[in-house]
């Protein structure tokens, strides 16, 4: 084999392996000039959105490692985080202190939610993704019951700014005045005109380090073994169900922190909607970054967040220029989020079915011999 074909081979493998991100880069390369945004604006947006969303997307990694697929149940963590924020706002504690207190208050709740999700998913092996999705909807119902009816009645809420005028239930939108960008601006730094959320990035870097370190621990190895083959892992003495529950609990707790970071950047909590799209957008971003249902890495997260949000910013304006309507662009980006998830799961599942068939055929072959 000459060096040239080897080179070609690597290139083609690179393209096939990263088809999704490359497709997106091409798509965005067309859309950016159409939208007419300046590069300065886009860079600023991307820096903001990297800080806002990376943490949430990172929280998806551990369940993938444990072979549980895309954890749509991260909304459970997001809702825990929101309850933490509501309580802290009620107590009137603001600033970074409030933010960390919200995390501390929400942690036990997120652990509980993660444990529930883990137990449920252990009973639905082989269909974790759809179960985690519907479980998210279900817990959303419970969340609404708590926030809309129990808060202010059974859980005392004194702050009239967040309680509905009827005396109980939380308002639709809560202004997080004291907390807004408290973490982003904790360590102020500007490069040119672009403010850099240094503290948030430090947080994200710490999480990356944690995940990197965690993968090397005994538990991390166990998790990957469980992800590869549950039966083999069980035989080699790994407590499969326990390991899976731990993966989901960690994911839920991280998503809880991720949602709090997300909300401090946005500055307003839409009590009943903020968590609606959390899972869809995080999953779509991760997949656009080149991850699959069984394999995801830290670079996938950052590439995905950048590409997904570039599309998100650019699509409405490009749609307006191209079709004369901003709504088209908005529908387009929603379509892409759902479409990319559909395509990724189809590809993964198709491959699995084919592998199963191949395994069966090879088994038959040895028998005949």
């Amino acid at each position: 084999m000459t060096r040239k074909t080897g080179f070609k081979d690597t290139i083609s493998r690179l393209f096939i392996g990263n088809a999704v991100p490359i497709m997106f880069i091409i798509l965005i390369a067309f859309a950016i000039p159409l939208s007419g945004f300046s590069s300065g604006y886009l860079i600023q947006e991307m820096v903001t959105r990297l800080g806002r969303d990376s943490f949430l997307v990172l929280s998806l990694l551990l369940p993938i490692m444990a072979g549980m697929g895309l954890n749509f149940g991260i909304v459970l963590g997001a809702m825990s985080g929101q309850i933490g924020i509501i309580l802290v706002t009620n107590w009137g504690i603001s600033g970074v202190g409030g933010l960390f207190l919200a995390m501390a208050v929400a942690t036990p709740l997120a652990v509980l939610m993660g444990w529930i999700a883990g137990v449920v998913l252990n009973r639905a092996k082989g269909r974790e993704m759809v179960t985690s999705l519907i479980l998210g909807y279900f817990i959303n119902g419970v969340y609404q019951l708590v926030v809309l009816y129990i808060m202010g009645k059974i859980i005392p809420i004194k702050n009239s700014a967040i309680v509905l005028s009827r005396g109980y239930g939380i308002r639709n939108a809560i202004d997080l005045k004291g907390m807004r960008q408290s973490l982003d601006k904790l360590i102020p730094l500007k490069i040119g005109d672009i403010p850099i959320p240094v503290a948030t990035f430090i947080f994200i870097a710490l999480l990356c380090l944690f995940i990197w370190w965690f993968a090397k621990t005994k538990l991390g190895h166990d998790m990957r073994a469980v992800g590869q083959d549950m039966a083999v892992a069980e035989d080699s003495g790994i407590k499969v169900e326990r390991t899976r529950i731990i993966a989901i609990i960690l994911s839920t707790v991280l998503a809880c922190y991720g949602q709090i970071i997300f909300l401090q950047n946005i500055g307003t909590l839409n009590t009943y909607n903020s968590h609606d799209q959390t899972a869809t957008f995080a999953v779509a971003a991760l997949l656009i970054g080149g991850a699959s249902v069984v394999r995801a890495s830290i670079p996938n997260v950052f590439i995905g967040v950048i590409l997904f949000h570039l599309m998100f910013v650019v699509a409405p304006v490009a749609g307006k220029e191209l079709m004369g309507s901003a709504m088209i662009g908005e529908y387009f980006r929603v379509f892409v989020s759902y479409g990319i998830i559909a395509v990724s799961i189809v590809l993964y599942s198709w491959k699995r079915v084919k592998e199963r068939e191949r395994a069966r055929r090879s088994l038959r072959g040895t028998k005949e011999l």
Binding site: R127, V130, I341, V346, R352, V353
Partner: protein, 347 residues
């Protein structure tokens, strides 16, 4: 005592709890000023509206394709039929029949390709169905704006292009089934004979189909695919037929739903329409791999009954509208319960 226990085992706890809840709501209703006859009418009407959509779950469950979370695909076919029928200026019975006839080719095409897709992803049908549903709805959101419709009844008044989010059926085929042979007793009780007859007709077709040779082969595929293949049944073909059937029932189901509801809901309307239908059939006692028409009837009555009664009764009793929360908790709780049960059985 033993027979009670056997009954509970057969009916399953969730179904009994929900039936009890519904019964107690009906008992409490008069004391909080809610008319029982009005509530029964509402329950029957909503049963008729949703029945065929729920019926559309049966074929796919029977062939082992799981719960049809991709129902929005069938709904989209129905919406295309309805809008084209209006575009052609059809009204009354001709409009309603025209909508069905026009929806059919779309439903067949969508169902066929959706079935082919599901054959390649055995084992992950439900997750993929969900996202096929979501992405097709959001794709159609763009199409509703771009497709060349001209009827002034449907497009936005300003701009002159793109369909409205809701289109009234007033003057087209509003209540065409509801008002057929309607029985009225007093001012509060109404029985929508036409709609119930139509449901019975659609259920009969399905029942008859499952007693043909193809129908039995489909059931065989669902209960044991390996055995079915050994018996010379083309498993993939049977699965495709079941998906097409489910999609066609979804298309017809939404048309029946709309003629009673009064509006065509486009854009994000069909997004979450699969969940109530899935929940209804599960409440009726179906599981992820077994369902029949009795499950559909019982489930739809129970689920729609709860949905009818909770807003009126609870609202009058404690002065706050819990209905949305109750709907989410009952329907999604039921689906999660069903998803966790099936693996325990199969393991």
């Amino acid at each position: 005592m033993n027979s009670i226990r056997r009954f509970i085992e057969k009916a399953g706890w969730p179904r009994i709890i929900i039936a009890m809840l519904l019964l107690s709501l009906f008992i409490v209703a008069p004391s909080v000023g809610v008319r029982v006859d009005q509530s029964i009418t509402d329950t029957i009407v909503r049963f008729g509206m949703n029945g065929i959509l729920v019926l559309g779950m049966v074929p796919m469950v029977q062939t082992g394709c799981g719960l049809n979370f991709g129902l929005p695909l069938g709904i989209i076919a129905g919406l295309l039929g309805a809008t084209i029928s209006i575009e052609l200026g059809l009204t009354g019975l001709a409009g309603f029949a025209g909508a069905m006839v026009l929806a059919a080719p779309f439903a067949l095409l969508f169902g066929w390709s959706y079935g082919k897709l599901l054959n390649r992803v055995k084992g992950d049908e439900m997750m993929i169905a969900t996202y096929v549903g979501f992405s097709s709805v959001s794709f159609m959101c763009m199409m509703w704006m771009l497709l060349p419709y001209h009827s002034s009844k449907m497009i936005w008044g300003y701009g002159g292009a793109g369909l409205r989010t809701t289109i009234s059926l007033e003057g087209f085929w509003l209540h065409i089934l509801d008002n057929f042979l309607t029985v009225r007793i007093g001012s509060n009780f109404m029985f929508p004979t036409g709609m119930i007859l139509f449901f019975a007709f659609m259920a009969l077709i399905m029942w008859a189909f499952f007693h043909t040779k193809t129908g039995t082969a489909m059931t065989a595929v669902g209960s044991n695919p390996d055995y079915a293949r050994a018996a010379g049944i083309n498993v993939d073909k049977m699965r495709t037929i079941s998906v097409i059937m489910s999609t066609v029932y979804g298309a017809i189901g939404i048309l029946v739903f709309q003629q009673s509801f009064g509006f065509i809901q486009l854009y994000n309307g069909p997004f979450f329409m699969a969940l109530p239908a899935v929940a209804a059939i599960l409440i009726g006692g179906a599981s992820v791999n077994k369902a029949n028409i009795t499950n559909v009837v019982i489930g739809t009555i129970l689920f729609q009954g709860i949905l009818t009664m909770t807003p009126s009764v609870i609202n009058s009793a404690i002065q706050s509208d819990l209905s949305e929360v109750v709907r989410i908790i009952v329907s999604d709780g039921m689906i999660v319960y069903a998803l966790t049960r099936v693996t325990r059985k199969s393991r």
